[in-house]
Symmetry: C2
Subunit: 371 residues, 2 copies
């Protein structure tokens, strides 16, 4: 094997379910020579990042910061810190990520109840209400933007029900964050987590999270220790928020540099403009694909603008077309997951990847391949 | 707060307990435009990284790969995958990181037994043997290079005892990896984890780990699920090793790019040369500091070459001197942790930071400040 040569990559256009393309400014920021994780210069960068995380979640929650691991670890952070063995958790499932929440809640020792909808459909609030009447959950957990199906979940009604029942609302916003409205204070979301590699367009590996005061109170009143030491917010927050900045783990300095610049770009564009751009490019893609005969999986009312799930045309070889897109056009689109493997494509228009150019290029390439 | 300005950092010389300085080649590799985490080009980079992880751990263990989170998550990976509730764990403690292993083992529901030594001393194998006679642990957990004290722990004798007692040896090699000999197959280490930001000189945020066949058998014969979904190797290894590369979480693509180049640099230098360089620069620092009247904390036989713990001179203000080093000379050194806070400095000479230039610069700066 030796010597291993320098790696070579092609200049990919990332139109899958993430990572999305990253602005050169972000790559440049990431390649800044390192400073220590307790250096006052780095602590000041963390302060900026926390403030920009609050701004993008549209929250005043103090406990808003960045978990040093990808979105799945953000999901685990949300659940292990709130749930204790024996707690009841109501998990809404209409795709891969709802299932994952249920699996993690189960590993926390929680008694998991499920509200399910078909893949490609949103969760029905009436069913959530029904289950809330029949149970006494500590949390209701739900996915805002189901990346496996392309469904956008309305949250306001479910949030109200959850609080009426005295439970906390835990929301997976990995794919919606910075691409669609997510005013977590207005919507009274108690715990939210996301990832950096979707509409925020920073490299994968970090997870922005936010806990409101109700959630912090639950965290502080735990009777048992959080089962994960690495994700235990009682410890992590001493580093991110404590006056003494007590060492917990070595922060991923370069990734935080990248995130700082990615946040600046989001806020320069403005959240409203960014949301609008995601819808505009979604519409462009929709029109183009429908004119070619493609069928969208999700009903118009619940479609994600940043993750377009379309049925693969009859008689074509799913993986062959995706391979040709990648190898001949440098375009990555996503395969179907779970029950959609082989019959659905997931076309991402996230963050930096959400441009009219990319849409036109993909449409041309598909026309060429499928002609 | 808006607009948040671009961040500014100084060109730090990192001589603390990590992160160490990073070679510009690594920063350049990290800033390569992203490819997808399931792109064949990325999978090929992962193959290289696995092979280079094996080469640097000097192992043929198949389950040798990179956890997508910092060294502390590597520690948690090692323990949560092997331990089940009710298992006995013998943890050796002579500093912060032994304590951390005990804390995590405890959160796994293990019955934790301790063998302790004073901070600054190695663990006595006779005491380990004694405890092995009085208990029946599933693992013996021990730190190879205790970053909080600067002690190098001899492992061969303890490894033999551990296996004679039918237990697995779990080793924390965060600070020694790529800086001191760590032939994990020769030493029969069953589970090892490290970090990227010490002698490997990649940015912090990843954790190389290796499990041998004995450890994999234990993993496969578990009766309970691993309590962390994110760190569950039964799932993670399907992505890193499975023929189908089943999606688990989105890999930190850019950090893996950086690691690939950092590994290439390690192997170009050669492990033996690298170990020698760490000793040479340690000796240079030792001679210089002793001639200034500094006293090393650890007995000569057990001193780490990459992390030099020295007592702070009487009558000086610890934090003031460290601040002056940072602000006037751009040099970061580490403060004492735990019982050593305020009276010990930890001077790192790790990876790219281990150069004669850095030693001379630090000695001059200290002479200047302390004159």
């Amino acid at each position: 094997m030796y010597p291993v040569p320098e790696f070579r990559t092609s200049n990919r256009i990332l139109m899958g379910p993430g990572p999305s393309n990253v602005n050169p400014r972000v790559l440049k920021a990431m390649s800044t020579p390192l400073v220590g994780h307790l250096d006052p210069q780095f602590l000041s960068i963390m302060e900026d990042v926390k403030a920009m995380a609050q701004a993008t979640f549209q929250t005043v929650n103090e406990l808003t910061f960045i978990v040093s691991a990808p979105g799945s670890a953000g999901m685990e952070t949300a659940l292990v810190n709130i749930l204790e063995p024996g707690d009841e958790a109501l998990v809404c499932i209409n795709g891969v990520f709802g299932n994952r929440m249920a699996e993690i809640a189960n590993r926390c020792g929680a008694n998991v109840k499920r509200v399910e909808a078909s893949w490609g459909e949103p969760i029905d609030p009436a069913q959530v209400n029904d289950m809330l009447g029949k149970s006494n959950p500590k949390i209701v957990a739900i996915v805002h933007a189901e990346t496996s199906t392309g469904v956008m979940q309305p949250l306001v009604e479910i949030s109200q029900m959850t609080h009426d029942a005295g439970a906390l609302l835990v929301v997976d916003a990995v794919t919606s964050y910075c691409g669609s409205p997510l005013p977590i204070d207005d919507w009274e979301i108690d715990v939210v987590y996301s990832g950096t590699q979707k509409c925020l367009s920073a490299p994968p590996g970090l997870s922005p999270v936010s806990f409101n005061d109700r959630a912090v109170e639950v965290l502080e009143k735990r009777k048992t220790k959080v089962q994960s030491w690495f994700l235990d917010l009682n410890l992590v927050r001493e580093y991110w928020f404590g006056a003494k900045r007590v060492y917990h783990h070595t922060a991923p300095v370069s990734s935080i540099f990248a995130l700082h610049e990615a946040y600046r770009i989001v806020l320069e564009e403005g959240l409203e403009n960014r949301y609008k751009r995601h819808i505009q490019n979604h519409k462009l893609l929709l029109t183009g694909l429908e004119s070619m005969g493609f069928e969208f999986l999700v009903n118009k009312s619940y479609r994600l603008p940043m993750l377009n799930a379309v049925r693969t045309p009859h008689g074509i070889n799913d993986s062959e077309v995706r391979s040709r897109l990648l190898n001949e056009y440098n375009i990555e689109i996503g395969a179907g997951l779970g029950q959609f493997a082989g019959n659905v494509w997931r076309i991402g228009l996230m963050g930096e990847s959400s441009t009219a150019d990319h849409v036109y290029l993909l449409l041309s390439a598909l026309k060429d391949i499928l002609k």
